[in-house]
């Protein structure tokens, strides 16, 4: 939407109103943390959005230059704190890439199980908070009800609920406790029917569709141009998922697993007869599609967890030995991106022959996704800003690092 009047002469006869600058955040209910958006608005119409980030900057990269890779694992938990497992995995794999390590079969399946569970948890938060952003409180409680059960499983597994540090360089820190697989299966069984409830309360809700269909349309080219990834990229119809298209060291983790990459190609989502239909008002790349992709990915993750549990039961051997803290890193550098729930989380490690990395880098998916908010919000209404921001599903811990 272009807010400039077509004919400059028209503006003179129109009512002249002053633009105002509004600070949305850093303390605001729907900025998902400490994000500050400066809105330049003419009444309800937003003409410009300038994000200011850095309120949660904790010098993670600098810290990484002073600790050994395994000691940095807890810092990765605190990046995307809604998906600690996926952050752990990204960093662990990156260091393993530099070290040229392979993890045992059992650890590989444990990684898939926990990461996909964490992906479900993260997408549930995204769904619930998106409901909040649109003024509907109830989906949030529904989402957190199920997420709690996942966190309970994690707590049983490693003692932590958010800052997990479970996956580590060289494998995972511990094997599953007795009976965990049964409880996990029990959770999946009660979770699957509830997904329909989520669809009823949001996805196919008429008000919800009106609020987010055709709002914040991000074309595929723009999404790639801004380096968007994850559901934001796939919501624009780009069939790209690092679990399938990533580097071999990462895709090897998912070897033998069958899952669909959720993206609309040729006007259809994979297995779209099972899910609520795409409303006519929705445009590919809008907030509704981003939301929908997440909802469908949850089902794929459930499938992956189930497969992972089957593989795990059949796998023999240990679940990996964490590398020693004094493990020397070879000279050289390795960069690896993994498919975290929010998008592609990249880590880079530069080794100099000592046990402490020379340089550590974290490339955050939310960072790139958020950078697209300026053009997305141009000309929208104030109420659309939370709707667009929520559909990007950012976590400030990851953006500010």
């Amino acid at each position: 939407m272009d807010m400039q009047p077509l004919d400059p002469a028209m503006a003179e006869f129109d009512v002249q109103t002053d633009e105002i600058l509004i600070n949305m955040g850093p303390q605001h209910p729907s900025t998902h943390g400490v994000l500050r958006l400066v809105l330049r608005s003419d009444g309800e119409v937003v003409t410009e959005v300038t994000p200011h980030i850095g309120y949660l900057h904790r010098c993670a990269e600098k810290i990484g230059e002073n600790v050994s890779p395994r000691q940095w694992i807890p810092y990765t938990d605190r990046m995307d704190y809604l998906a600690g497992m996926n952050m752990n995995l990204g960093w662990a794999l990156c260091v393993e890439k530099l070290l040229g390590m392979e993890v045992p079969e059992k650890a590989r399946h444990l990684r898939v199980i926990t990461c996909e569970l964490n992906r479900i948890a993260s997408h549930l938060v995204a769904m619930g908070t998106y409901g909040l952003d649109l003024g509907s409180f109830t989906p949030f409680t529904y989402a957190f009800r199920e997420r709690e059960k996942i966190l309970d499983l994690f707590e049983e597994l490693c003692g932590a609920r958010l800052t997990l540090s479970y996956i580590t360089v060289g494998g995972v820190t511990s094997d599953l406790p007795a009976g965990w697989l049964e409880r996990c299966e029990g959770f999946l069984q009660e979770f699957m029917p509830i997904i329909d409830e989520y669809h009823a309360v949001l996805t196919s809700n008429e008000v919800f569709i009106r609020r987010c269909a055709n709002v914040g349309v991000l074309t595929a080219d723009a999404a790639i141009d801004y380096g968007c990834s994850g559901p934001v990229l796939r919501g624009s119809g780009v069939d790209w998922d690092l679990r399938r298209d990533g580097e071999p060291i990462y895709t090897r983790t998912y070897e033998g697993y069958r899952f669909e990459v959720i993206a609309q190609t040729n006007g259809h989502y994979p297995q779209d007869e099972d899910y609520p239909p795409v409303p006519r008002a929705a445009v590919l790349g809008d907030s509704w599609h981003r939301f929908y992709v997440r909802m469908l990915e949850v089902v794929q993750s459930v499938k992956l967890v189930r497969q992972g549990m089957d593989f795990y039961r059949r796998a023999a051997g240990s679940c990996g030995e964490p590398v020693k803290l004094s493990q020397k890193l070879p000279k050289g550098e390795a960069y690896l991106e993994t498919e975290a729930p929010k998008g592609q989380m990249g880590f880079m490690v530069v080794g100099d022959g000592s046990a402490i990395p020379w340089r550590v880098r974290a490339r955050s998916s939310s960072f790139c996704n958020l950078s697209a908010i300026g053009p997305l919000c141009r000309g929208c209404l104030i109420a659309d800003v939370p709707a667009i921001l929520g559909s990007l599903d950012i976590v400030l811990g990851e953006i500010d690092r």
Partner: protein, 387 residues
């Protein structure tokens, strides 16, 4: 009552004053109890909608005293006025809102004749005074000196002023069917069976009832039309800078006006204090059988009326915790593109219907009271200035 007392108390105005005072206190109690009780109901209903329990601790198993505890907490909070606020207007705004929504209770009949001021133009009075509530909100938003508050206030102004139009149109339709603007008479008309309720008067009033309810929800700022607060967009809208007691006064005003619009829906469409079955007349609880039985009948009626109003409020809660919020342009679209034309069409239809079948099509059941064609009887409680 006042006339009766005036025979014994001199000067007579003192009697009127005393009666007015008693009525005010009673109604204030109603308003506050409604607000307090209603917060509890809202928490409980919201809890159940969201698959949780709601309050369970304060005051016993069901958290009966939660509202009281909240009220105490709010009273204990610091009364903050932001530095950039216009202090006088900021302090005044909640009272304006509350006074407006409280004054409406004066003309709201709880049962046959149980009304503080029986007015010939009761419905007109209610709509007019309830509309004043928005001034408190606009003032509060403007005086807060915060942009978020200002946005909330402007939204409220745009929304409420727009929704007054279809709301009034909807209210006119039952008035037309009844032939009077006196709420007590409208209530009396619907005595008897369910089929006497104005919502079943003709197809047009039936549709109007739903339009009315939508507009009423919007005009009292309840979700999905709560754009003035819109916590995910405007922090808390016009309430952003309010805290403690002043906040709770706004809050009470909101609940009071919810009760009023729901009560109005009950009177205009759903038989007012009359149940679906003429139980009071079966039991003989009418004015013909003496004042005590009449009082009992009226008491039942008042309970009935309150129950209907509460049901309306619960539907509002149910909608609030189910639906996402609309956007401001969508709210205006709903009003101007759907509600206003629909209400206007219903008005036209109801007019033609009433003209064609003045006595209604559906067979009327036993009428216990004279129809609305008669001049409404002067209520015992009405003050001299009412006519």
């Amino acid at each position: 009552m006042a006339e009766y007392l005036a025979q014994y108390i001199t000067p007579p105005w003192l009697a009127y004053l005393l009666v007015a005072l008693v009525q005010c206190v009673l109604l204030l109690a109603v308003a506050v109890v409604v607000a307090g009780g209603y917060t509890w109901v809202e928490r409980k209903v919201a809890g159940r909608v969201q698959d949780r329990l709601g309050p369970t601790r304060v005051g016993g198993r069901f958290g009966w005293l939660q509202a009281l505890a909240d009220g105490l907490k709010l009273l204990c909070k610091e009364d903050l006025v932001p530095g950039s606020a216009d202090a006088m207007l900021f302090r005044m705004a909640p009272y304006i809102s509350f006074c407006a929504s409280f004054s409406v209770f004066l003309a709201l009949p709880f049962a046959d004749g149980w009304v503080a001021q029986r007015l010939d133009v009761g419905i007109f009075f209610i709509l007019a005074v309830a509309g004043v509530e928005v001034f408190g909100v606009i003032l509060g938003g403007y005086a807060s000196g915060s942009k978020w508050s200002l946005f909330g206030a402007m939204r409220e102004a745009a929304q409420v002023v727009s929704y007054e139009v279809p709301l009034a149109l909807c209210a006119v339709i039952p008035v037309m069917a009844a032939g009077t603007m006196d709420l007590v008479s409208i209530g009396q008309m619907q005595t008897g069976w369910l089929s006497n309720w104005l919502v079943f008067h003709d197809p047009f009033t039936f549709v109007t009832f739903w339009v009315y309810f939508t507009c009423a929800t919007a005009s009292v700022n309840r979700a999905p039309f709560d754009l003035a607060e819109a916590e995910s967009e405007l922090v808390a809208g016009f309430l952003t800078e309010y805290s403690g007691f002043r906040w709770s006064i706004f809050f009470m005003a909101e609940y009071a006006s919810m009760f009023v619009v729901s009560g109005l829906a009950a009177i205009l469409f759903c038989g007012g204090w009359n149940g679906p079955l003429p139980i009071t007349s079966w039991l003989g609880l009418t004015a013909d059988n003496g004042p005590i039985l009449a009082f009992l009948g009226n008491f039942l009626g008042a309970c009935n009326f309150t129950a209907k109003a509460c049901l309306g409020m619960i539907v509002m809660v149910w909608a609030r915790w189910t639906l996402p919020r609309l956007r401001i342009d969508q709210v205006m679209t709903v009003c101007l593109k759907y509600c206003v034309p629909l209400a206007a069409a219903m008005l036209l239809g109801a007019m033609l219907w009433t003209y064609t079948w003045p006595n209604g099509l559906i067979l009327k059941s036993v009428r216990l009271l004279p129809a609305a064609s008669q001049t409404p009887a002067v209520s015992t409680a009405s003050a001299p200035g009412a006519h």
